[in-house]
């Protein structure tokens, strides 16, 4: 019996799956499904380009300076998000709130710039129905913007949690999971920017 209990314990110790918290595992599974969503669009775009010789004429109308500025905004927001986690680990609530607020602000700035960019494109007569490039462009950047909105809502919830009397461990975990999502949205943009604006 004792030997049996010992072997069960040994299995539990060597079962690495148990080392990954359920919440973190759930976020990573969700992110893997998100790779399927964006991966499908990106692969479709690249293959369509390969088949039909590129979109140089249409792509010349997108303003790469806006895209570059937004990339800078997004990588900076990733930095403020991870600094919020580092501050949570140090149990410095004031800094957690500051960094989360900055992340939200940068996220809103990104969406503001994207909205301004869309306005210019609509004024020039480019809509999702204006051709294959514009369908992909509005589809991919629009889907990404919706993910940004979701990330902003998550960060707002984290900011509210940081102002309340929640445990340090609770806050750390939630910021870590929210951060994984935010950084993923950043990684998606890191590929969308050269794909749509630079090539």
């Amino acid at each position: 019996m004792a030997a049996g209990a010992q072997s069960v314990s040994a299995i539990a110790e060597t079962d690495h799956l148990r080392e990954i918290p359920a919440g973190k595992m759930a976020v990573w599974i969700f992110l893997a499904s998100e790779i399927l969503v964006f991966g499908g669009l990106i692969t479709g775009f690249v293959l369509y380009q390969f088949a039909h010789g590129g979109f140089a004429a249409d792509a010349a109308h997108v303003k790469w300076r806006f895209g570059a500025f937004n990339t800078l905004v997004l990588v900076t927001s990733s930095m403020t998000m991870i600094m919020a986690l580092a501050s949570a680990r140090a149990d410095d609530r004031r800094r957690v709130r500051t960094y989360l607020f900055l992340t939200i602000l940068l996220g809103c700035l990104f969406l503001g710039v994207k909205g301004f960019e869309y306005r210019g494109e609509f004024r020039e007569g480019f809509y999702p129905s204006s051709g294959m490039f514009w369908s992909f462009y509005f589809g991919m950047t629009g889907l990404h913007a919706m993910h940004m909105m979701g990330g902003i809502v998550i960060n707002l919830m984290l900011l509210i949690a940081a102002t309340r009397n929640v445990s340090s461990e609770f806050l750390q975990r939630r910021i870590e999971y929210g951060g994984l999502y935010w950084h993923f949205v950043d990684v998606v943009w890191i590929f969308l920017f050269p794909l749509l604006y630079l090539t």
Partner: protein
């Protein structure tokens, strides 16, 4: 005390990673602006994007400390798309580039 030093060290690493991300973004833009041959520019720009993604994944998303299972979770869908692209390329060449197959 040690925890404070660890957090400080961690924060400096995050700032350093951010500086690299900005540097790589600028490097990509320089390649785009300069008269670099298109194929070379595309390869270079996407290589820089891949480095940026790896920096974020490993440092900000802490993949470098994660279990192999998490790597597999991320790599499986990415490899599926690579496989899909490789599978479809011969058909595109056959139909669109060689003009065969009707």
């Amino acid at each position: 005390m040690n925890e404070t030093i660890d957090v400080r060290r961690e924060s400096s690493l995050y700032m350093l990673i951010w500086a690299w991300l900005v540097f790589l973004l600028i490097a990509g833009l320089v390649i785009f602006v300069l008269p670099v041959p298109r194929t070379a520019a595309v390869i270079l720009i996407f290589s820089l994007a891949a480095i940026k993604a790896v920096l974020v994944l490993r440092n900000y998303m802490h993949l470098k400390h994660e279990h192999l299972l998490i790597y597999l979770l991320v790599l499986t869908p990415a490899l599926l798309f690579l496989g899909m692209a490789i599978t479809l390329i011969p058909d595109i060449v056959y139909r669109h580039h060689l003009g065969l197959g009707g």
